[in-house]
């Protein structure tokens, strides 16, 4: 009887997207993914190809910068210690490279939502003059010259021609596997573990003060919000309004997920805070700012101990199995197949 229960719970916890090639597992308490897998059905071959592309600096003009240069798996695919992204020829961009987590549940990408689909996201860093400074047509012509890619594309798409759409879809596939759902928080949700009293108090405070924007279980609503940061006059970044042309979107940026937040420092769109405690203090000091978002109109009052408890809860969102997942790391075993030949 006990065994049957375990099997039932196990089945309940994991739901799967239906695909012949690859099953994407996520917990039952997650909502349905927004990504349309029917238009890009996952297969192991396409994921492998995407992984090789993600780590290949061939995507940049001088073959120096790969996706992983600014999105390291060990930092939940963020860029550790860089407030602003650091691209080709040591150029510095204007925004903090975000963590790449649970992307299948997002429909707008970048801090200002400039990108409307995961497939198209890679075009932005590839062509940005301060990131990879390349052009997708040129990327494709470089890939076509490499026998390994002709074979990898043939394995993935039954077509060795290599197109821009295939390159982008493969990159999406690898990134769609970036599912983080195995932090201590998740094991508590699955009733496999319990919070310490400090974490539990932090969770209570989180639900009281943070959950309206950083909503469970993804720890973001992925809306655009003005969290009261004073504009950095060296950047003058107006955020979402530049894309939407709607004045109400001034100073709004996408709410980032808090999953793996301990790994993905520094924080905010311009990376101005390096510690979680600074972020918490930003919100508790907000009463002095000209605050626009309704959810932040009421002052957040926390004692020093409560701030520590809140941070203790945020640390339960760290997913070690995510950051050290071998299937996200440099694809040396895939590349080795070609080196041997």
């Amino acid at each position: 009887m006990k065994k049957l229960w375990l099997i039932l719970i196990g089945l309940g916890l994991l739901s799967f997207t239906v695909s012949k090639g690859f099953r994407l597992a996520y917990p039952s308490y997650f909502p349905k993914p927004l990504y349309d897998f029917k238009k890009n059905p996952l297969t192991q071959q396409k994921i492998d190809l995407g992984r090789v592309l993600f780590y290949d600096p061939i995507l940049s003009k001088d073959n120096s910068i790969s996706c992983a240069s600014c999105h390291s798996p060990y930092n939940a695919f963020a860029h550790v210690d860089h407030d602003l992204s650091h691209g080709i020829a040591d150029q510095i961009g204007t925004r903090n490279a975000p963590a790449l987590i649970n992307l299948a549940w997002q429909s707008e990408f970048m801090w200002d939502g400039a990108i409307n689909h995961l497939d198209m996201q890679a075009l932005a860093p590839i062509s940005h003059p301060k990131e990879m400074d390349e052009d997708i047509a040129n990327v494709v012509s470089k890939l076509r010259q490499i026998p390994m890619y002709r074979e990898l594309f043939f394995d993935a798409f039954a077509d060795s021609t290599i197109t821009g759409a295939q390159t982008l879809k493969a990159l999406s596939q690898f990134q769609l596997t970036f599912i983080s759902a195995n932090a201590k928080y998740d094991s508590v949700m699955r009733k496999e573990s319990v919070f310490s009293s400090q974490e539990l108090n932090g969770y209570r405070l989180f639900k009281q003060h943070c959950n309206s924007c950083h909503a469970e279980p993804l720890f973001s609503t992925y809306e655009f919000a003005d969290n009261g940061l004073k504009i950095d006059s060296t950047l003058n970044d107006l955020g979402r309004v530049v894309i939407s042309h709607n004045p109400v979107d001034s100073f709004k940026f996408k709410v980032p997920t808090l999953r793996n937040v301990a790994y993905s420092f520094p924080y905010m769109h311009d990376g101005r805070f390096s510690k979680l405690s600074q972020v918490v203090t930003h919100y508790t000091n907000l009463t002095f700012c000209n605050q626009k978002d309704k959810r932040l109109q009421k002052p957040i009052v926390l004692t020093e101990n409560e701030k520590v408890d809140l941070v203790a809860f945020l640390l339960t969102l760290s997913d070690k199995s995510f950051v050290f997942n071998p299937s996200y790391s440099y694809p040396k075993e895939i590349l080795a197949r070609w080196r041997r030949d």
């Binding site: 409307n116 198209m120 932005a124 062509s127 997708i136 047509a137 494709v140 821009g164 759409a165 042309h245």
Partner: protein, 233 residues
């Protein structure tokens, strides 16, 4: 008994012939023009309103959502029809539209550009592949219409003018839909009066429109007006 397979073959053959005879085809061509003459890329033209010369180096646009109408009612829609018309590739300028069977229609309607749903549908191949250079990388969206060249009057680097017209999100949705009268039995030729489109612009002070904004919208309506089946100098 032994003759039966042969009989079946003959019957299948007859049905196939009948099937082919049933299918129908409609040909639509696009001719970019300057002063009512077919455009020559790289040739210097005199543009009256600037009293100076200009050269068109590149001209491309999307045609999609082709519908055939009869008495103002849609009777057939070309499925998945996205076409990139490119002045540098003459073969791209003629569309052979296959129709399932002959039917009566008196109008054809199509978009100049790509509709908003397709704009948010992720990576697609063929004419829609971003490697064709008709997709904005920095802010998602197709470029519906791209017209580039040079003129000594342009106040820009290398005297270039670049008009990349697109945008699918309100208030700056640059998609235009045109409708022309036509008949089943006659090919349709659509002329694009580039001299009129360029003549409407301030090449001196505004040699670049390259993002979804009010200027792009107003240019898209001028583009719409200058797709015509009846070209005049």
């Amino acid at each position: 008994m032994t003759k039966q397979p042969l009989l079946v073959c003959i019957l299948v053959f007859c049905f196939a012939i009948a099937g082919f005879a049933q299918a129908s085809r409609f040909t639509m061509s696009f001719v970019p023009c300057f002063n009512a003459q077919p455009l020559q890329l790289g040739q210097a033209y005199l543009l009256a309103n600037i009293n100076d010369s200009l050269t068109v180096e590149g001209f491309r646009f999307y045609v999609s959502g082709i519908k055939l109408l009869n008495s103002n009612k849609v009777v057939y829609e070309i499925p998945d029809g996205y076409y990139l018309i490119d002045a540098a590739h003459p073969q791209s300028q003629t569309l052979q539209l296959n129709l399932p069977k002959p039917f009566i229609f008196d109008q054809i309607q199509f978009h100049i550009g790509i509709d908003s749903i397709t704009n948010v549908s992720g990576a697609m191949g063929g004419a829609l592949d971003p490697m064709n250079g008709m997709y904005w990388a920095w802010q998602s969206g197709f470029i519906n219409f791209k017209l580039e060249g040079t003129s000594p009057v342009c106040n820009s680097r290398n005297h270039k003018f670049q008009y990349h017209i697109g945008g699918y999100m309100p208030p700056f949705n640059a998609l235009q839909t045109v409708t022309f009268s036509c008949t089943n039995d006659q090919d349709l030729t659509v002329y694009i009066a580039l001299d009129k489109i360029l003549g409407s612009l301030d090449l001196r002070l505004e040699p670049e429109i390259m993002s979804p904004n009010a200027k792009a919208i107003s240019l898209s309506t001028i583009i719409h007006q200058n797709f015509t089946t009846n070209i005049q100098p």
